[in-house]
Symmetry: C2
Subunit: 254 residues, 2 copies
Amino acid sequence: MIKLVLIGTGNVAQQLYRAFTQAGNVEVIQVAGRNKAALASFQNKNSTSSIDRVRSDADIYIIAVNDDAIHTVYEQLSVVGKLVAHTSGSVPLKALSDKHRPAVFYPLQTFSHHREISLKEVPICIEATTTEDLDVLKSVASCITDRVIELSSEKRKQVHLAAVFANNFTNHLYHLAHEILAEANLPFDLLYPLIKETTAKLGEMNPYEAQTGPASRNDEGTLTRHRQLLRKPNHKLLYELLSNSIKEAHAKKL
Amino acid sequence: MIKLVLIGTGNVAQQLYRAFTQAGNVEVIQVAGRNKAALASFQNKNSTSSIDRVRSDADIYIIAVNDDAIHTVYEQLSVVGKLVAHTSGSVPLKALSDKHRPAVFYPLQTFSHHREISLKEVPICIEATTTEDLDVLKSVASCITDRVIELSSEKRKQVHLAAVFANNFTNHLYHLAHEILAEANLPFDLLYPLIKETTAKLGEMNPYEAQTGPASRNDEGTLTRHRQLLRKPNHKLLYELLSNSIKEAHAKKL
């Protein structure tokens, strides 16, 4: 049984805790976090709100806190020579000192409050400085997912950037679509089947092949009619730039 | 039994034909289209490649052709006084003459070649000039979907514009994410669980509430690190503008 201490009480920590608790081969021997109310919700009998009271007998420590706080928590942790991993997509391994054996345990997913999700298919990107530490990370990750990937800090940063395009930016476009429908007093759920099918198609073809719409076929008539409909300045600007980007990408097909 | 003639042989026509064939209460008595190879694939015994040979005994004619061709096909159709609907999101009802009884039968979905999809949950937006014609459209649409919506041309245009944001633009962002991963020799399917969860969340909260990422929390450190990673000019530009749009939308929360 691998003994694990989880530091942090936010969305990532909560989902990891749930997954580890349900998995075999790994035991969360302690949860640590400053937010006492959040900490209580874990119902872990060895929880502590003091970083000084973190147990020293774990095989691995996972710091699941905001990017900005990782460094501080890592330095405050007084266990010596232990394997200490953070869960961030963008903080490089080198940013952590050799006070501990630094590592990365980055689940490539978006986590929301009160939304229980399965980690089984979620890629967990791991990084460490020795093969022994990598083996421990692999064992721990394999308890909760079928997809463990060893990635350098450089590649992890690229993955995190791609995730911003595929999640943050697409979600914001859903918000703009929501605004456009609201102007016409129409409900957003009209678009659910379309949104579902847009992503379902990606299982069969790559997004370049899946592209449809007026910009990809250079249909200036429809583009002009759309421009006349757009009210908000940021809708106009993004419509123009995204359409141009699609046109450029698909110009060779036409 | 409602008798229907389908004009067109593209993706929309194919999906509608399949749905009507499987449904009760409506019979596709003929399929018409200039593309003989595509027409043959319908295996409809009364198919014709000549617009002059379209049968005159149908209750409704559905023109499922490209936006640019709708007007021409509508005018060429020699049946007199019949209910003739097009399937476009952006062509207004007024664009069609009173040679026939003009109407709209717009399925709000993205259709791809060889991808069979269920229309059961897909909204079909209908429009006509009389309540009698609306009733026929409702009957026909109800055969293949549970969601029939009467919409004016104005509102339909807004829906179509929102669909461009929710489908065309998001799909293009998947393409850019694909490019960013390819630069690091990483496969796009790493992002599938994230993409699935991004859209699954919309069933529980609106996209504004679902927004996460560095721009929404004004995390300048991560934004700066991302800017340094971006290589292609259109990636840089879109990163900047989408991040700014998210920041503006979420500034009040911070």
